[in-house]
């Protein structure tokens, strides 16, 4: 099983279970920005008490499940990690937290028709806001680059009032403005 097969299998299982979810992380920034290599697929889920066990049953042996949650130090959220023993690719299932912004971006998630199915994905605005939040908190250069690429590729389609408002609250507005100013004219 390859990384893309694994990701599609998890999406299929979540859809079959009717579990509210959204694709986040590099898969979402690749969708709206400039694709880059990634060794994991990240999802945010509204977990029910049985969700992890139902997913384990549905996905079966290619996936190695650790029923214990772990703490993710960049985003400060709880997650389950699904590993594929044969390949160095992971699927990370983050719990939807109580943080007001996390709630808002989950509420705003959208359905995209891709690969013959509908997939729930964070919006382009929320990919930018989240990447910049992590860029400031975690000081990860790749988050800045991902945000810059999404801004450049999406161009005028971005709701800037929404992005500015959350970046102001997260203390990432200066980084946002710096990134926007660094994008060369595209025409």
């Amino acid at each position: 099983m390859s990384g893309d097969d694994a990701t599609l299998a998890v999406i299929g299982a979540l859809e079959a279970l009717g579990t509210p979810y959204m694709v986040v992380g590099s898969f979402s920034s690749n969708l709206y920005g400039v694709p880059r290599s990634t060794q994991d697929a990240d999802f945010v889920l509204q977990f029910g008490p049985q969700t992890i066990f139902q997913l384990a049953d549905l996905l079966g042996p290619p996936f190695r499940f650790d029923p214990q949650m772990s703490f993710e130090t960049v985003t400060f959220t709880m997650r389950h990690v699904l590993e594929l023993p044969d390949i160095p690719f992971k699927v990370e299932l983050f719990h939807l937290g109580d943080d007001p912004y996390d709630q808002e971006r989950f509420h705003r998630r959208c359905r995209k028709k891709m690969l013959g199915r509908e997939v729930s994905v964070a919006t382009a605005e929320d990919v930018i806001v989240t990447k910049l939040r992590w860029a400031v908190q975690g000081r990860r250069m790749k988050d800045r680059e991902d945000a810059r690429d999404v801004i450049a590729v999406q161009g005028d389609a971005i709701d800037w009032d929404y992005v500015n408002s959350w970046c102001d609250r997260h203390g990432s507005r200066a980084v946002l403005d710096e990134i926007r100013a660094s994008i060369p004219p595209l025409l």
């Binding site: 400039v34 880059r36 990860r140 690429d149 595209l186």
Partner: protein, 76 residues
Amino acid sequence: MEPTQELIDAIYRERVLRARRTPLDQKFLAGPQLFDRACRIMKDGIRSERPDATEVEVEAILRQRLALTRRLGNGE
């Protein structure tokens, strides 16, 4: 010789315009596909450095290097 800002901007512009032309399906799955390709190239490099290594050892070295890359990317 350092590249000029004009050249850097032109390359970036081309990347962005190409991304705008790429279908969503292709962009969505590009991440793991690029990763798979990178792993194959890294394994070829490891085999070249360590011609006596078994496939199990090549895989183990690959995973060590990926873990290091991940830690560096996370600023650890």
